[in-house]
Structures are given as C-alpha cells and as structure tokens.
C-alpha cells in the first residue's frame, strides 16, 4: 500500500510512538564515529523545495544520507502554472527518475496532497503553505519527551500566529494524539475563525496560562502581518505575547521553552530566554535529523511503509468522482427543512474528531 506523511492526522498513536521510539534508538548513532547506516542503500529520496528553507532541506538531506539513500535536491521557486514548470510536470519528472520518496516543501497548502496523486513514491510533507509541517511536530514531541518524559497529560502552550502557522496545526493534531493538553495563545486576529472546533484550548491572556504550562512553544511572527492590521505594532505584540524574562520566571520550574525557528529575537522571544538552559531551540534542530531518519526509515525501509496515511487523491478524474460521492455532496432524500443528516461524510467523520 502506498502511504505518505502529509498531515499529523495521518498518524495513529501507535504510529507516532513508533516514530518517536525509532528516533530514540537512532539517536544513539549520532554519538558514534560512523553515523551512516546502510538501510536505504539503492533508494532514491528527492528533496523538492519550492520554498527557501535551507534548515529543513539540510535536515532531511542529512537524514536521508545517514541512511545511505541517494539524495536528489530539486529547488524550484514559484509554482503557478504561469511561472515555468507546473507541479504536475515536476511530478512526472520525478516519476521518470524513480523516486522512492519525495520530501516536498511548498508555499501552497495542499501541494503534497496533489503530488501524492501524481507520483508512485511516498510523499513526506516538509511544510505546505499555512497547512501542516508534520515532521516539525514530531521533532517537537520528541524533544518534549526527552526533556519531560511521557506526554500524556502534559500541558503545552503554543503562542503566536496560529492562523498562518503550519507548525501549530501539526502540533495540535500530534500532541492531541499523544495525549497532551494544548492551549493556543494569540491575539484574536491571529486565530482561524473556527478554532473552537480544534482539539485544544484557546486563550488570549498569555500571563494567565504561564503557570499552568509544562511547555511553551513560541511561533515566529511575521512583521508584515502588522501591515495587514493583525496587530497594531510589533512593540505591542511583543509586550502582550512575547516571552521575556519576567514571563519565563512565571513558568513552573521544570517547564521548557521551544521555538521552531527561525527566531525573531526581541519580538516573540527575548534573547536571554532563547539562550537560557530551559530553551530547547538548539536541541530541536539536532533532533530534527534523528526524527526525519525515523520517518524515512519507516516509510521507505521495508517492502511497504509502517506508518502514515493511505494514498491521497490527486488529479485523477475517476478518483475525484469517488470523493464527491463520499463526502461533501448533500444527497438528502428527505425534506431538508427537517434537517435530516444529509452530508455523506464517509470516513471523514472520524478524522474530524481528531482534527
């Protein structure tokens, strides 16, 4: 069966624990003289980066190379049909190269879903638009587990631009799967309108949440959000939602501070907090390679993947048809005014519960 890691919702609790446990074993390799394993010899992993992200690309590249995969880096900026080659044509090129796995970073939400419909290999989402970044969530969970142990019942506070954050989306899903209690903190303008349907708490007052947090994860806030009137000034944002030394001292003794990077020092996080021993920011980077090795091994290391969601829909018309009949088409035989349960939701109902 063809499987991918596109959304953190693709992972069951067992899947997620398998990845974290595998990463735990693999982390031992990082300490030894020969870091390379022969496991993916002969497999080809393509890093398809439509968006600049040297950090993430290098992390995936190191992960694939430590597993002895052949790595092809493919960078292409801009993605609309009017600008050069389309994603579909790129996908067909990858098919011709025989890619076993495709790691894709793209500025359009859903690009990995589309790619999964066009290639035979396993697709790993390395961040798509404002949708998800599941390996970031995995490395965050891995980092938390190393510092705090089992995540069941742990209280994780994620602060910042939730509306535009793929890191927040994946973290909410994965942490919920792992049994942690997530609270999102942001100005109301930076929440999606229906955030109340997410499996987490929502708060506007950062200070009230601090003493009840085992983990505080700060998200990067783009300064250009200010011009779209999401908040008045960077100074006001920083004062209300930034993590400074005073707020750090309000955290419980054991609590850790995380940031997916790159940081805006002095905006969402004060330099002294970023550099404090309670900050895991550097660890997170190191853990990224290990966790991505685990993901690549479990997706590509065997005759079939051991984790992840089943093949998604791509551009194939026949399969599109299948989708419209599964969900999203209201096929109510009764009187709609009586409000019969009309939407044929299929398997989506269960997915929405954990989304």
């Amino acid at each position: 069966m063809k499987r991918h890691l596109i959304s953190a919702a693709d992972l069951t609790r067992d899947d997620a624990l398998l990845i974290l446990d595998t990463a735990e074993e693999l982390s031992r390799i990082a300490d030894r003289p020969i870091k390379k394993l022969p496991t993916l010899r002969g497999r080809t992993v393509v890093n398809l980066f439509f968006e600049d992200s040297t950090r993430t690309r290098i992390s995936f590249e190191a992960a694939a190379k430590r597993l002895s995969a052949d790595v092809i880096n493919f960078s292409a900026k801009g993605s609309s049909v009017s600008k050069g080659e389309s994603l579909k044509d790129t996908a067909l090129t990858l098919e011709a190269m025989g890619a076993d796995g495709v790691v894709i970073r793209h500025n359009a939400s859903g690009a990995p879903h589309r790619l999964a419909g066009w290639v035979r290999g396993s697709v790993v989402n390395a961040g798509d638009g404002t949708h998800e970044h599941p390996t970031q969530a995995l490395l965050d969970a891995y980092t938390m587990r190393r510092r705090l142990g089992d995540l069941d019942g742990r209280r994780v506070t994620i602060v910042g631009d939730i509306l535009h954050s793929r890191v927040a989306r994946s973290n909410v899903l994965l942490l919920n799967t792992l049994g942690a209690d997530v609270t999102l903190v942001a100005p109301p303008t930076l929440f999606p309108v229906a955030v109340d349907t997410w499996p987490c708490e929502v708060a506007y007052d950062f200070d009230a949440v601090l003493p009840k947090s085992d983990v505080v994860m700060m998200l990067r806030v783009q300064q250009e959000r200010m011009s779209d009137a999401f908040f008045p000034t960077v100074r006001e944002y920083s004062r209300r939602y930034g993590l400074d030394a005073r707020r750090l001292s309000a955290l419980p003794e054991h609590a850790i501070v995380m940031h997916p990077g790159p940081m805006n020092r002095g905006v969402e996080i004060a330099a002294e907090v970023a550099d404090s021993p309670r900050s895991t920011i550097v660890e997170q980077v190191a853990n990224g390679v290990t966790v991505r090795m685990a993901v690549l091994y479990l997706l590509l290391g065997g005759s079939e993947p051991a984790i992840g969601g089943a093949a998604r829909d791509g551009g194939d018309a026949a399969r599109d048809g299948g989708d419209v009949s599964r969900g999203g088409a209201i096929r109510d035989r009764g009187d709609v005014s009586r409000g019969g349960d009309a939407i044929r939701n299929g398997g989506d109902a269960s997915r929405r519960e954990d989304a």
Binding site: R28, L67, Y297, L300, G302
Partner: protein, 194 residues
C-alpha cells in the same frame, strides 16, 4: 531430552502445526554453562571479552552467559546488545519494523574480543548483518559467535564458535527459543507443519 509434543507456551493451539520440545529448561541451563566455560577456555579466562547479544533473545542469553562467567571468574564482564535491523539484507521483503536497542558497554569494542550471542543460527544472514553493524561501531581484535541452537541450512560462509545444541531440521520447520525473562519459561520448541 524430552520428545513430548506440547503446545508452545503463549501461542494458541494451531491445528496445522505440531510442537515438539527439543530442549527443556535444564538442558538450556547446562548448554549455557558449557558455553560459558568454553568461552573462558578459548579466551584465556575471558580477558578483554565483550558479550553482545542480538535482540531480542540473544540479549537475554548474553546476560545469562555474562552472569555465569562472572560466577566462575569472580568479576563482571562487559556485555551489551547489538541491533542488526538496519543492516539486514531482507529489509525490502517485509514492512519496515521497529528497531531493537544497540547498547555498548562503556569499554566499547575496540581491541576487544567480541562474542556475538544469538538464539538460533540458521542462514547466517543475521550474523552477516551483525558483523556489518559491528564494523560501524569500532574495530574488535576478534569476533566470535555463540548460539544456543544451530539448525543448519547456512547460506553464507559463517559458523559458530560455541553451540548449545546442533539441531538437524528441515527448512519447513521452525525453531522457537523460549526464555523465562521474555516468555515465562525456558524451552526450545520445534514447530513441524503437518
């Protein structure tokens, strides 16, 4: 040696397979004691040796051997585990599987005599993978192999230095090693398809 046909512990009775216990707990105990003595003899009192078990049951056997050697010699000997999953040559024949633990003793393996310990020696492919894995961890002075059961059918030029029991089998049969620490009792069971 008992030849009674009994269902394997913990597995549901399977009508297509008959179970024959080929080693009972005392047999295993004696075999391990003998191997421990052989190791001491061959390595001149166990100097510089490291026992590395191959997960899962090889690790348990290595721990037992280490305990016996320590009893005889009066001081503990280094032991650990060596997972070979990532080095296997049959990875693509099965779904990706969870990793076992690799844990070296603080002494490491460089210039040591490493004794690999596994429960069953069959095709030799696991040992081949273990030699590759070991190669990435350091440079032992020598590598030896101890196995509780050697069932034949080698596919590679590999042989064991210490064998608990040579057990002629047919390729259709399966050999299961049960150990108290993991399975609740000690036994070696031969599964014969009817």
């Amino acid at each position: 040696m008992s030849a009674a046909s009994v269902p394997a512990h913990g597995s549901s009775p399977d009508s297509d397979v008959s179970h024959k216990t080929v080693l009972e707990a005392p047999d295993i105990r004696r075999a391990l004691t003998r191997i421990a003595h052989e190791i001491l003899e061959r390595t001149k009192g166990g100097r510089d040796i490291v026992l590395l078990g191959i997960p899962t049951r090889g690790v348990t056997l290595a721990a037992r051997l280490a305990a016996r050697i320590a009893e005889v010699e009066g001081e503990p000997i280094p032991q650990g585990s060596l997972d070979v999953t990532m080095y296997r040559d049959d990875l693509r024949l099965r779904p990706a599987r969870a990793l076992g633990r690799t844990e070296l003793p603080p002494e490491g393996v460089d210039d040591r005599v490493v004794v690999l310990v596994d429960d069953v020696l069959y095709s030799g492919r696991t040992v081949r993978a273990a030699l590759d894995a070991l190669n990435d961890l350091g440079r032992p002075r020598a590598v030896q192999l101890a196995t509780l059961v050697d069932r034949g059918h080698r596919e590679l030029p590999i042989r064991a230095d210490y064998v608990g029991k040579n057990l002629p089998t047919s390729a259709r049969e399966k050999v299961k090693v049960l150990l108290a620490e993991i399975d609740g009792r000690d036994a070696v069971v031969l599964e014969v398809p009817k």
